[in-house]
């Protein structure tokens, strides 16, 4: 548990100790996650300034207006790639960088019909990815109402 080095000691933690969380999502976000089961991707339009948030949220950050369930609109879930990066490493959740055998593409997608960006892994060969590409959403075969319903984002030709 400890190694001797210089005048100080290194104290390692016990890997079994971890804190677990379950964050409640709130009404609008629940609506969003549940409707993924119906292959619907929801967004929220601010009734005041018209800014469209995807995924939805209940307060507009620009004009501080309350956004309600009636303000939800449906968008395609696809969009344009405004930026991407090829990840050669990833975090293992325990604070270590792990080299990836197969590099991973991470994209910033400007969702069609919304103002927000969406950050997600993109299923594509790093060589073929270009800024300005159209990105589509593919659904899993099993739909349960949650993030797992989204299989991946993929370039559409």
């Amino acid at each position: 548990m400890m190694e001797k080095k210089f005048d100080v000691l290194t104290v390692n933690g016990l890997p079994i100790v971890q804190a677990q969380f379950n964050w409640s999502v709130g009404v609008l976000m629940q609506k969003f996650l549940k409707s993924l089961a119906n292959k619907k991707f929801l967004a929220a339009k601010c009734p005041e300034c018209g800014y469209i948030y995807a995924p939805p949220r209940n307060t507009c950050a620009k004009c501080w207006k309350k956004i309600e369930e009636k303000d939800l609109i449906e968008i395609s879930g696809g969009g344009t790639l405004v930026s991407y990066t090829v990840g050669y490493v990833e975090l293992d959740g325990k604070a270590n960088w792990v080299d990836l055998k197969k590099p991973k593409v991470i994209g910033a997608i400007k969702l069609e019909g919304a103002n927000s960006l969406f950050f997600a892994p993109i299923e594509a060969d790093p060589k073929d990815v270009k800024i300005g590409m159209k990105i589509g959403l593919e659904w899993n075969s099993e739909l349960k109402g949650g993030w797992k319903d989204i299989k991946h984002f993929k370039p559409v030709s």
């Binding site: 005048d7 100080v8 000691l9 290194t10 104290v11 390692n12 933690g13 016990l14 890997p15 079994i16 100790v17 971890q18 804190a19 677990q20 969380f21 379950n22 964050w23 409640s24 999502v25 709130g26 009404v27 976000m29 629940q30 996650l33 549940k34 959740g93 325990k94 604070a95 949650g146 993030w147």
Partner: protein, 168 residues
């Protein structure tokens, strides 16, 4: 009449974790020194040359004088209680530490009554928390004179100082 209940709808939840156990820390060798002295039945504290306070277990820095506590002092194994608490009998499954039940791990026995105390060993200016043995809860009082109880086998570990017992 009792507590007013508050009922409200629940929304779904998403999960995540925080790997608290993956953190590393740097520590000085003070505790090592303390534990090794326990092996010789000596309780060591650090002495501040600024204010003369003796702190057990030894610590590094005296905040009052804002200086390092470089001197050491052996304090008496006799002391007096400054505070005590009588726990209710231990019940299995009532309390868990990191998901482990103290009764299952064998640390405590079912139905055991413990008396955790604060002891100020003579010559020191700080408390140590430990258990009081060989005493009935109704006999204990603040200021009671106690002496250290040493483990049967001294290993140079913190558990060498098992607790304290009244001086009779």
């Amino acid at each position: 009449m009792g507590y007013v209940k508050d009922e409200r709808p629940e929304t779904m939840m998403v999960e995540g974790d925080w790997q608290v156990g993956a953190y590393r820390y740097k520590a000085p060798r003070l505790l090592e020194e303390y534990a090794q002295n326990l092996k010789n039945k000596k309780i060591v504290g650090s002495l501040c040359m600024g204010c003369g306070k003796v702190i057990v277990q030894p610590r590094n820095i005296c905040g009052r004088c804002h200086r390092r506590m470089e001197e050491r002092k052996i304090v008496s194994e006799w002391g007096s209680l400054t505070c005590f608490v009588v726990s209710p009998p231990v019940v299995k499954g009532k309390y868990k530490l990191f998901g482990l039940d103290p009764v299952d791990t064998g640390a405590l026995k079912e139905g055991e009554v413990m008396i955790p105390v604060f002891v100020r060993f003579d010559g020191s200016d700080s408390n140590i928390a430990c258990l009081l043995f060989n005493a009935k809860p109704e006999e204990v009082f603040i200021g009671m004179r106690v002496k250290a109880v040493w483990a049967k086998e001294l290993k140079g570990a913190m558990s060498d100082l098992d607790g304290v017992e009244p001086i009779r």
